[in-house]
Symmetry: C2
Subunit: 164 residues, 2 copies
């Protein structure tokens, strides 16, 4: 009996694999989380995360290399360097919130001692939901993979139909 | 000059660290993504991901151990085993979509050849956004950390005030 293969994944061709290469590493995302918490100096990251200095140096370099953090002179003492989130790095906030919510929902029963809330209401954020372009909430069953060319309209209609 | 320490992180006390321990590993999340794509047999995962059999076996065991996948008899051939997403595993869909969107937005310019779309509209999902309980879109600046006890109302008001 041959196993059915409804969908073949090309890891090399997948934006998840690419994203995981950058942020899948445990320390890297914890450093980004610390940067969201306004930590900026090497020593602050080191003290907050309890991470070995050589590993921290390596992960900071990687995050700079990938354009997630940038090294800028400390506005208070320009001989020092601080690490600042780029727009690409700030773009990780939904990922961090989603990861946190999943960890809270399914992780250890105790949860963390700190909770991130909306300043205005003092309440935790709404659960992250997958939504359609028009705002409808989507379940997994509502999604399908199509060829990018179909979406971009780069293929003649006949060829695009053939790919469905 | 002492570096300011606006917020000290306790990695051991953080649901992100806990979540990353489970899904931060590259292959684990790619296996979950494959399961979302309805892959279920060991051989299907192996063929789709091009992963070494011993690594695949190890990662599948870990995902079962963490309650993300479960081993169930294949309904077509009960001598075989298939891997099925649990509710905890299905709860990773917002994470996978968020990761994919970030990779698409900021990753290699080419992007993947396949795009995940809403079946009904044929359009990609709306970007994942952090939202308040009442639906307002939130930026990082709109968020703050509070002590969980404050939220749960487990502390007398006076003590909770003291923690702010």
């Amino acid at each position: 009996m041959t196993a059915p293969r409804p969908f073949k994944i090309q890891p090399i061709d997948c934006s998840i694999a690419a994203a995981l290469d950058v942020v899948g590493e445990r320390w890297s995302l914890l450093i980004v989380r610390a940067a969201f918490n306004k930590l900026r100096h090497f020593e602050e990251f080191q003290a907050a995360l309890g991470i070995a200095r050589n590993i921290l140096a390596d992960r900071l370099s990687r995050l700079v290399e990938h354009g997630i953090l940038e090294r800028v002179p400390d506005p208070i003492d320009r001989r020092r360097v601080v690490y600042s989130l780029t727009d690409k790095g700030k773009g990780l906030s939904p990922l961090i919130i989603t990861l946190m919510q999943w960890g809270d929902r399914w992780g250890a029963a105790t949860g963390g001692s700190k909770v991130l809330v909306d300043k205005r209401s003092g309440l935790p954020m709404a659960p992250m939901r997958v939504r359609a372009d028009d705002g409808r909430e989507l379940a997994l069953e509502d999604l399908e993979w199509i060829d990018r060319a179909e979406l971009d309209g780069e293929q003649p209609a006949g060829a695009a139909q053939g790919l469905r």
